[in-house]
Each structure stands twice: as structure tokens, then as C-alpha cells.
Symmetry: C2
Subunit: 478 residues, 2 copies
């Protein structure tokens, strides 16, 4: 697969289209999630939701429309979001007195309500999550990765003090890491964002960052410690055990449908989508081959396998349409179905089927006596294999030997020449905004995060050569 920029974009768009995951609409940047695209989100949602509930969170739902005055209460927040807001200005034939924004995120509405809900330390912590649609009217859009309307979850919690809020911030980042690695088979680097990349209104932002096959980064989840900023802006105070009024400390954390885009860009290949078994809408497809119509025993046997898999909770399809096997193979490969089973007259005679994993070249011969167990095992193996492959790819393209901007530029030129991806670079940073900006201007590499567990510690700033305060991942990013 070509990883050159234009080629990769084209591949991404084509793959999505051929896998039938979404459609475009006449509303700028707003996409329709078709059933196979939406089901990926449903599986992500189920897994996240059960983790949130296990850790004591409950779901709620807040109004989508947010009064303009709410935004103005937190200075950084309005500065960060106002360029991207769509506004409702009229309703039911009348002009509204105050414009209402379509929520880009709900800190303000929730801040307003928490100030009514929280009275005493007995009310804390408040641990609430919301599944919702949100809007950011961005100039450049890319399916799943950056759209005007998207789906997400946003957690909003309030705590008695900084320690408790910071613990929550980290707990949720860890849940994100576990779900993205475990369910989506996408390895990530977790760490802290630099100030310039922080969420508008956060004291500290933490992220998990994933590497796409073109070497660019996707921020796959963020968790923010908001300190008392929103508490001050919205007057969210509580009475302590000692009868004093204190500001609560709040957090927020989110993941979105851009995770779907990441799955495609991490696992896909020349033949199309490759889906990790745990989120695949169809995990196994059964296809009769050879002159199967003359031999009803073939469909009978496939029906039998179908039922046996179904009973085990495996998402299986039997493709008995009139198309040729070759056509079917191609179609189900485009859709990224993890395991394909072929059964023809000769296989039946030999008491066997052919099994093909989507990400492997060779077909395997599997005995009909143990076909269900073999499929189950292959689904598990493939889930692990995809993760290990992505992990190896990440390691291979994580460069830790580039310590100056000249070395980085040389690396980029070499990569360009060889047709390699530039990957990510671990480098020192003095903490000066100007150095970060200069790296960005010269190389388009931005700071991804300051990893919690860097493979090594850097001692000099990649830009100015002064002492490094932080060891940072730099990369081009979506």
C-alpha cells in the first residue's frame, strides 16, 4: 500500500466507500453513518459504557442548544470554540432573543447545572457521562476523523479536591487506553499535552495518541483536569465537612467516532478494510464454492456451522447469493470481515473447510469436526495478531535518535526520497512555546504528548539546544 500523502487519502476515502460505511450529504461536512459504519460505533460504545458504569459513572443527557452567554463565562473556552460554532437564530417563525449554539462540548451547560445540583460534600463526587452528537464547523473535513457533526461521549465529573479530580482524570485515560488497545487493537502512547495543545479551558490535558499507516497521529482520546476554572465561571461551590464554601474541581474526558477512522487507517490494507474481530459487524462469512447448487449437502453443512456459531454469539453471515466465489471473496474482503470459510464438494468429501483470516495470505485447512473451535480460536488469535502488528509498526516508526531540527529535516528528506513514512520523533523540548512553533513551521511536526513512559529521556531541546524540560513525541497529525 502506498503511504504517500495523496495516495493514502485516496485509499482511505475509497476504502470507506467500498466497505459501505458512510455516505456524504449536501450538508457541509455532515455524513450519514450507514449500518456497518454505525455498528462499529455501537461496539465501541458498549465496551466504553460498561467500563464507565463499572467505575461508578452514570449516563445523563443535557440540552444540545447552549445560550451564547454561557460560553462567555469561561474566557479560554469561548476563544477556543467560537470560531467553529453553528448558531440557531430563529425558531418557530420568530427571531430568538439570544443566539443558541449547537454544542461543541458541554462544559458550560453542565457547569450551569452542576452549580444547582451540588450543595455539599455529600453530593460529591458527581460522576456523569453523556452520549451525544456534537458540532464543530471546521474548514477541512475528513470522514470520521473531522466532520461538522460527530458522535461522542463526554464525561463530566466534579470532586472535592484536586487529588480526587486528578485521580479521575487518569482513571479515564487508562480506560481509554485499555479499550483502544484491547478492543480496537490500536497501540497508543499515553501522556500529557503541551500547553498549546490543551483543551480550551483545561488546566492539564492528557491524551492517548495512535499512529496511522501513513505515520500521522490521531489523538484517540483525551482526559482533562479542569481545576476550578469552570467552578469559578459557573459558581459550583460546595459546603465542606467543616462548613466552608469551596470550589469543586472538575474533569472532562471524551472519545468520538474518529476512533472508527483510526481503526481503518491502522489496520486497513490494499484489499480494503481489515477489522479487529471484536468490533467487526460480521466476524465470519461462510461461502459455498464449486458446483454447490447441485449439491444441497453443502448449504446444509454451512447452515449447520452458521447455527453453531450463532449460538456462541459469533456474528456470522452465510453468502448464498448468485455471485461467483471470486466476487464474494473480494466483496467481503473490502468489508474487512475477519474470517472467511469456504466449503465446496471436494472439501465436504474430505470432511474439511478452507479458512482464511483477512490479514493472512494463506488459507488453512480445517477439519469439519472442529470447525467452530477453529474459528473461535482464529478470531482470538487475529485480534492479538493485529495488535502485535500495529505495535511493531508503531515501534519501527518511532524514532528516538533525532536530537536536532537539522537531523529531523534530514530524516524527512531521506524518508521522502525512499518513499518511507516519516513516523514520529521522540525529542527534547525546553518548554518554550517559540521552539514548539518553530518545529511546527519548519516540519509540520506538532507535539503529540509528553509520554508517561518515554523509551528514553532527552536532555536537549530539539529546536534551541538548551536544556530539555520534557521528552516529547512530535508528529504530523490529523
Amino acid at each position: 500500500m502506498s503511504q504517500k500523502r495523496e495516495d493514502f487519502s485516496k485509499w482511505y476515502i475509497d476504502t470507506i466507500q467500498k466497505a459501505d460505511l458512510l455516505d456524504y450529504t449536501p450538508v457541509r461536512g455532515c455524513i450519514a453513518f450507514k449500518p456497518d459504519g454505525y455498528e462499529l460505533w455501537e461496539h465501541i460504545k458498549e465496551e466504553m459504557d460498561s467500563r464507565f458504569k463499572e467505575t461508578g459513572h452514570r449516563n445523563a443527557y443535557f440540552p444540545m442548544l447552549i445560550p451564547e452567554t454561557f460560553f462567555q463565562k469561561e474566557k479560554d473556552h469561548i476563544e477556543g470554540f467560537s470560531p467553529e460554532l453553528p448558531w440557531v437564530t430563529e425558531a418557530a417563525g420568530e427571531k430568538l432573543e439570544e443566539r443558541l449554539a449547537l454544542r461543541p462540548t458541554s462544559e458550560t451547560m453542565i457547569g450551569h447545572l452542576y452549580s444547582k445540583w451540588i450543595k455539599s460534600y455529600r453530593d460529591l463526587p458527581v460522576l456523569i457521562n453523556q452520549w451525544a452528537n456534537v458540532f464543530r464547523w471546521e474548514k477541512k473535513t475528513l470522514p470520521f476523523i473531522r466532520t461538522s457533526e460527530f458522535l461522542w461521549q463526554e464525561g463530566h465529573t466534579a470532586h472535592v479536591d484536586e487529588e480526587d479530580a486528578r485521580k479521575e482524570t487518569m482513571q479515564m485515560l487508562n480506560i481509554y487506553k485499555e479499550v483502544v488497545e484491547g478492543l480496537l487493537a490500536i497501540p497508543v502512547y499515553d501522556g500529557e499535552k503541551t500547553p498549546s495543545e490543551r483543551f480550551a479551558g483545561a488546566v492539564d490535558t492528557y491524551s492517548i495518541e495512535a499512529m496511522m499507516k501513513d505515520g500521522k497521529a490521531v489523538q484517540a482520546g483525551t482526559s482533562h483536569y479542569l481545576g476550578t476554572k469552570f467552578a469559578e465561571a459557573f459558581d459550583i461551590k460546595y459546603l465542606t465537612r467543616e462548613n466552608k464554601h469551596e470550589n469543586v474541581h472538575t474533569t472532562s474526558w471524551g472519545t468520538s467516532t474518529r476512533l472508527i477512522g483510526s481503526v481503518i487507517m491502522v489496520h486497513g490494507d490494499e484489499q480494503g478494510l481489515v477489522l479487529p474481530p471484536r468490533i467487526a459487524p460480521t466476524q465470519v462469512v461462510l461461502i459455498p464454492v464449486g458446483p454447490w447448487k447441485k449439491n444441497p449437502a453443502i448449504i446444509d453443512k454451512l447452515d449447520e456451522i452458521f447455527v453453531a456459531l450463532k449460538v456462541k454469539g459469533i456474528r456470522v453471515r452465510l453468502d448464498d447469493s448468485d455471485q461467483s466465489p471470486g466476487y464474494k471473496f473480494n466483496e467481503w474482503e473490502l468489508k474487512g470481515v475477519p474470517v472467511r470459510i469456504e466449503l465446496g464438494p471436494r472439501d465436504l468429501e474430505g470432511n474439511q473447510v478452507m479458512m482464511k483470516a483477512r490479514d493472512e495470505r494463506e488459507k488453512l485447512v480445517v477439519s469439519l469436526d472442529t470447525v467452530v473451535e477453529s474459528i473461535e480460536k482464529e478470531l482470538n488469535t487475529m485480534q492479538t495478531r493485529l495488535f502485535e502488528k500495529a505495535k511493531a509498526f508503531l515501534a519501527e516508526n518511532s524514532h528516538t535518535h533525532l536530537d536536532t531540527i537539522d537531523q529531523l529535516n534530514q530524516h524527512l528528506a531521506d524518508a521522502e526520497k525512499k518513499g518511507h513514512i516519516p513516523g514520529w520523533v521522540l525529542a527534547g523540548w525546553c518548554g518554550d512555546d517559540a521552539c514548539e512553533t518553530n518545529v511546527k513551521d519548519k516540519t509540520k511536526f506538532t507535539t503529540r504528548n509528553i509520554p508517561f513512559n518515554p523509551p528514553q529521556t532527552k536532555h536537549t531541546c530539539i529546536n534551541c539546544g538548551n536544556e530539555a524540560k520534557h521528552t516529547v513525541w512530535f508528529a504530523r497529525a490529523y
Copy 2:
């Protein structure tokens, strides 16, 4: 409980507030669903969603913003909805070229997309559902029942012919009936809407109608046969087996968060909320009584019961806060928790607990040896009991002996005098719009539906006395 109009409204608002189900916001008619309110919706959603999937439907997600021109394609549809639409007119600092409506329902956007997705009979039926927020900027709002933004599901299907589409319309109405009766313990009358009450753009609309404790009706779910109206408006054609271009026949069907309002108004009582066990966020509350703090064995025993219930998947809470038992009893009754277990020193000595069902006056003595089984049984019994009570109430207040508008007026006057609720009236209707309108103007009774299984058949029109074409339920409605 007083069923007078103002008293009932006040009771409803108070009950919701005390049960902590929602909060109001500064955005007109937009409410925040608090965790206990939202969880009711989650349980409804789970049950509906699994029924939809069992019957071959898949979820998808469509853009929330709909171009103004889309609405204008179906004449009845724009007429019906335009008075209630909120509009986005600017985004990211610029005025939009075309206004975008916040969806009140998605037939138009989906019609546009189905015309791209459907090419041949092989693509049919298309069976898609969407869970989403929708907007109707209505003048009078009432929590859960009528709000500017609400949550719902909307199914949209396309079929080769009328027969198949009508089968779908009925299938979904039946699923609604089963879920509303089985899960929410609300008995309903199913039937066809009169033309004046049809969905804007439908050929036929069917509904299930539920009776609230003040005798008013709530339309609890609707299913529409749309014929080829949207196919014509959006050019949704398919190639038949015979190679001819034909219009598809479409359906749509929806239920919303107004079901939560119905649960409250059907089962609630003077002490507050009464929740059917199957949707209660907390099904069982365990409360230590007497001098329990001096006797750790009491909390130990309650912990044991807690774990045993949890293992069975029962949603249980242990209230070991410092409040008095009386305070706790009252609080959990307000929240409608189905079963309360009390355990004090004497109970422990006697190897028993006290069990109280939310809807019964008497407490029961239950042996500690079988307490989990007793609770499980009581949850089931209560679910059935609530349904039976509501069914008796519905039957009692369904009047079938009023055949003229004079008799209806007399009945209303009598009810008013006695402080009874007017209930519903089964009456004949000649089919003339003017008769329907006259009944409405004179009595505020509107046609609810033409029941599939009327308790009897009426032969004369309640208004004009001419031959009745239909036997209809008339009622005041939310």
C-alpha cells in the same frame, strides 16, 4: 390522589422533581435528563433495540441538520412541521446560503439518501432505525411529554410493495404494544388514526394510546405507512425483477422519551413515583432499622443480601446513610423503588426481614433463608400487578354507553360534579371531518384511534347521528 386538572399537573411536576429525574434549563423547553431519568430511557432503549434487531433492523445515524429545500419536497410534511422548526442560519462566523433545520423527524434526509442507496429489488427491504435527538419548538411544554428537544427512535424502511410495507407497519406497532405493556406495564389500545390526526405525509398512521391517571390520553407510539409519497418526492425508485422502475413503499415508526412521562402518570401515587420493576434504576433498597449501628451483624447481613441480589443481576442499593429510617423510607418511595427491605435487631433475632412493595400498603415478613427468592418473586409479581391495576383502571374509565354528544356532555358534567375523571369514550363516527371538529370544539375530546379490537361496534355518529363508518376512541389528550 386528586385527579383534577391543575392538581394533577402540579402533582406530576412535583413528583418528577422530588424523584430527581430532570432539571430545567434556561433554554426554552429544553430539559436535562438526570441519571435516574435517563436510566429509564436506557432500559426502554435496550428492550426496543433488541426487538428491532431480532426483526432484522439495523441502526444507522443521519445528519441532524436538514436543508430547507428538502422539507419543501413533500407538501404535507412541510405544512405539518414548518411551524415548529428551529433554524441554523450562521456557522463559523458566516451566514449560511441555505437555512438548516434541526430535524423534527428524518424522512426527508433519509428519503434523499435512500434514493442513492436503493437501485434494485435486491437492495430491498431496507430496514433501518435511528436513535437520536429531535426538535419541535412547541408553545406549551411539559417535562418528558412535550419538550423542544427530545430523544427518540425513528425507524425508516423501504419495501418493494404496499403489502410488504404494511406488514412492517403493523409489525412495529405490535412491538411497541408488547414493550409498552410488558416493560412499562402500561395497557394500550391499538388502532388507526383518523385522517386529521395522521403524521404529516403519511397515507395511514397507526398508534397505541395509553390512559393517564387524570383520564387523558398519551399517544405512546406511532407507526406510519407512507405509501409512495416520499418515494415520489425524493425519487426512490428500484429496478424490479422484470426490469421495470418502480417507486418503493416506505414506512416510519417512532417512540420517544414521552414514554417516561407516561410511566409516571400511569403508575405514580400520592407518595410519588411508582416504577415497574423492569425499568426501575434501583429495584430494591436495603435499609437497616433500629439501633443498627451498635449491631454490626445487621449491616453484614444486608451486605450479604446485597451481593446475592447483585449476582442475580438485580439493581440493588444499600442505604447506610445517617438519616432516620422514616426519612429514608420517604425518600426511596418518592423515587418509586419497587421493593424495600428493612432489617433491625429484632428481625435478625427472628431470622427475618420486613419487605414492602412500593404499591402495597402492608409489609410482609420474609424469612432470611429465602429472602433473595422472595424479592425476585415480588419483583415479578409487582410488574404483573401494576399492569393489571392499570388495565382495570383503563377498563373502568373506558365508556361505551355514550352515543350522542348530549350524552357525552351530560357525562362530562356528572364527572365534573362528582370529581371523577371523564375517561375515554367509544363512539361512532360518520367519517366527516366536521363532526370530529365539532366534538373537539364542544368537549375537547379528540379522536385517539379507530381500535383494531373495539369492545363493541357503534352504528351511529356521535355528532350527526348518521350511519357510523368507524368506531372510535375519543378522549382528551396530551
